[in-house]
């Protein structure tokens, strides 16, 4: 789960990292009032979970409260890379002496977290790394040791940052470990005219798998999410809404991803990714099918199941159950193989529904579903 900048800022502040004074508002009038409280001259920053806000015009300086109101009005409602701006942060400007980059990220290949530090901050670190790889230091962290004082000093030196950043480095590590974060990034980290080390912008990604021990996480927020995705989450289904016409349901992330590709290979576009998971019950199948059928974009549905733990007869029962409550108005192509496949196929055969088609192979099923969606 990615946090908004203002949520990341709160975590940094709670852990002792200096951040500019700021308020988060959702109307232009409130932006004006916030600017008055913050001393008049402010920066207005769009709160969206995507990079490149500055380039898109989502970050602007306003000289006084009236300008803050005008600027906020322009930014609120703006679309940045498909994300609508519902809130802006109104922040006190900071007199910057120098800009740096500092972050902790997962190094998948090493199976460890690594610090990334660079004396060149303020722009996308990927660009700096591509252009001048020697300007970006990457230091692996031993999970048993963590970031000691000596390690923090090592990171600062390697990245070409002043030694005074060592305290901030250790505090960012605390944010990462205490909050089960996968990424903590400050860009830019700045030295102000008065010599303070301040995080001007922050990005934090939390590990969804750690939710069970992080009860304070609140993601209800204002996530402008697809209603079908919200419904899938409530039903405990792994679902991603896509923009095609063939609804795809399968078991196992790899098989479902593969099914999307095979559908695309048949010249159609998948409408979703829906994984009913391992050992899915008839109820889970019924919930999944109802959800996909409720997507108005869907013109045909493909159910592709290879039963490992999942029993194909339970999948077939789920389809029958779903059709009891949701009248089928779109063609449904089903491919069942593996555990109890013969029983599953027999159940669908007995159903004898004119819109339910069975296919023997994954490729054949995808081709049929694509054809029926055309």
């Amino acid at each position: 789960m990615d946090l908004y900048e203002h949520q990341a800022r709160e975590l940094l502040q709670e852990n002792g990292v200096l951040v500019p004074r700021a308020e988060v508002v959702d109307t232009a009038e409130a932006a004006r009032a916030a600017a008055e409280r913050l001393g008049g001259r402010v920066v207005i920053k769009a709160q969206v979970k995507t990079g490149g806000r500055g380039k898109a015009g989502g970050v602007k300086l306003a000289d006084d409260p009236a300008a803050a109101e005008q600027t906020a009005r322009r930014i609120l409602g703006m679309d940045i890379k498909g994300h609508t701006v519902h809130r802006v942060m109104v922040a006190e400007p900071v007199e910057v002496e120098r800009e740096m980059y500092l972050g902790f990220t997962l190094d998948r290949a090493a199976g460890r977290f690594a610090a990334i530090a660079s004396a060149e901050g303020g722009m996308e670190i990927e660009e700096v790394a591509a252009r001048r790889p020697e300007a970006v230091a990457r230091i692996a962290i031993d999970p048993a040791e963590g970031v000691t004082e000596a390690k923090a000093a090592e990171i600062a030196v390697a990245g070409g940052l002043p030694r005074e950043t060592a305290g901030t480095i250790r505090r960012l590590w605390t944010v990462l470990t205490a909050h089960d974060a996968l990424l903590v990034e400050v860009n830019p980290l700045v030295v102000t005219r008065d010599g303070a080390i301040v995080a001007l912008d922050g990005k934090v990604t939390l590990d969804d798998n750690a939710r069970f021990r992080q009860p304070s996480w609140d993601d209800s927020g204002d996530r402008a999410r697809d209603p079908l995705e919200a419904r899938a989450e409530a039903a405990g289904l792994g679902y991603v809404k896509l923009d095609g016409q063939v609804g795809v349901i399968g078991n196992g992330a790899g098989l479902v991803m593969s099914t999307l590709d095979v559908v695309a290979g048949c010249g159609a576009r998948p409408a979703d990714f829906l994984d009913i998971g391992g050992g899915a019950s008839a109820q889970v199948m019924a919930d999944g099918l109802s959800l996909v059928l409720d997507d108005p974009e869907v013109r045909s549905v493909l159910v592709n199941v290879f039963g490992g733990i999942t029993a194909c007869d339970a999948v077939a029962d789920g389809i029958v159950r779903a059709l009891d409550t949701v009248p089928l108005t779109k063609p449904l192509v089903v491919r069942l193989d593996g555990n109890n496949a013969a029983r599953g196929r027999a159940i669908l055969g007995q159903l004898a529904h004119p819109l339910v088609h069975q296919a023997d192979t994954m490729d054949g099923a995808a081709a049929r579903a694509a054809e029926l969606a055309a």
């Binding site: 997962l106 998948r108 290949a109 199976g111 460890r112 977290f113 990927e126 031993d142 999970p143 048993a144 470990t177 089960d180 996968l182 590990d207 969804d208 798998n209 750690a210 069970f212 021990r213 792994g238 991603v240 896509l242 399968g250 078991n251 196992g252 992330a253 790899g254 098989l255 479902v256 991803m257 593969s258 999307l260 590709d261 095979v262 559908v263 695309a264 290979g265 998948p270 990714f273 994984d275 391992g278 290879f306 039963g307 490992g308 733990i309 193989d337 593996g338 555990n339 192979t361 994954m362 490729d363």
Partner: protein
Amino acid sequence: MAIFLTKDSKVIVQGMTGAEGMKHTRRMLAAGADVVGGVNPRKAGTRVDIDGRTVPVFGSVREAMDVTGAGVSVLFVPPPHAKAAVTEAADARIPLAVVITEGIPVHDAVAFQAYARARATRIIGPNCPGLISPGQSNAGIIPADITKPGRIGLVSKSGTLTYQLMYELRDIGFSTCVGIGGDPVIGTTHIDALAAFEADPDTDLIVMIGEIGGDAEERAARYIADHVTKPVVGYIAGFTAPEGRTMGHAGAIVSGSSGTAAAKKAALEAAGVRVGATPTETAGLVVALLAESPGNAA
């Protein structure tokens, strides 16, 4: 001979007495695995009867290993307790720990992988289906009755794609199928399995299944170019996955230009690997390759 798991492997199950543990212990036994014990500190000294076999429950991995000589542990321990369970297995210096559990926090995985590595315990997983050497043994949740023993080695990030390929190639059969898991931090990698299959005299051809996210497949491709002499056939899932969305597996995400299926496929092809567009086509490539080299395979 198979890799990592043979008919001689003695297997214990951490979390055996839970619902998932019981179900899969039964399936493992039916597939021929020599399951010699379960581990549950609260039920130490009890026994569980499964299909006419009596499996003792031990209080710790150490005790189970001392009594039975087990060399493999399969873990069905829920996420909040998984780190402690893997740590215990590594402290007991078990050679192989197969972590089936899905949903383990990454910080825990980072900690226990490093801990296990320092104690020479090989980890497979987490969030994986385990591994099977058909006709010999089964450690995990891979269905045993969809294929037969043979001379193909298979390594995959995905459980169901493993099953799909096993089924497609059921007439040829497999030496070992290893599901390494779809999490961002895993123990045994594609490269580890490729190296073991390369060294295994009973494996003639390797099937490698990857998916979007990270660069493990690209690194495996470089390894294949430099170290693997046996034919390798590849498959990559996730060409249609949009950027920034996690596709089911915690590790399956395209971030910017990195981790795309197209880049992985290109890297494998550059290393001389034939890559199929669908699982069925991939199976077809295996059949064709084996036909080209008649000295190989049964």
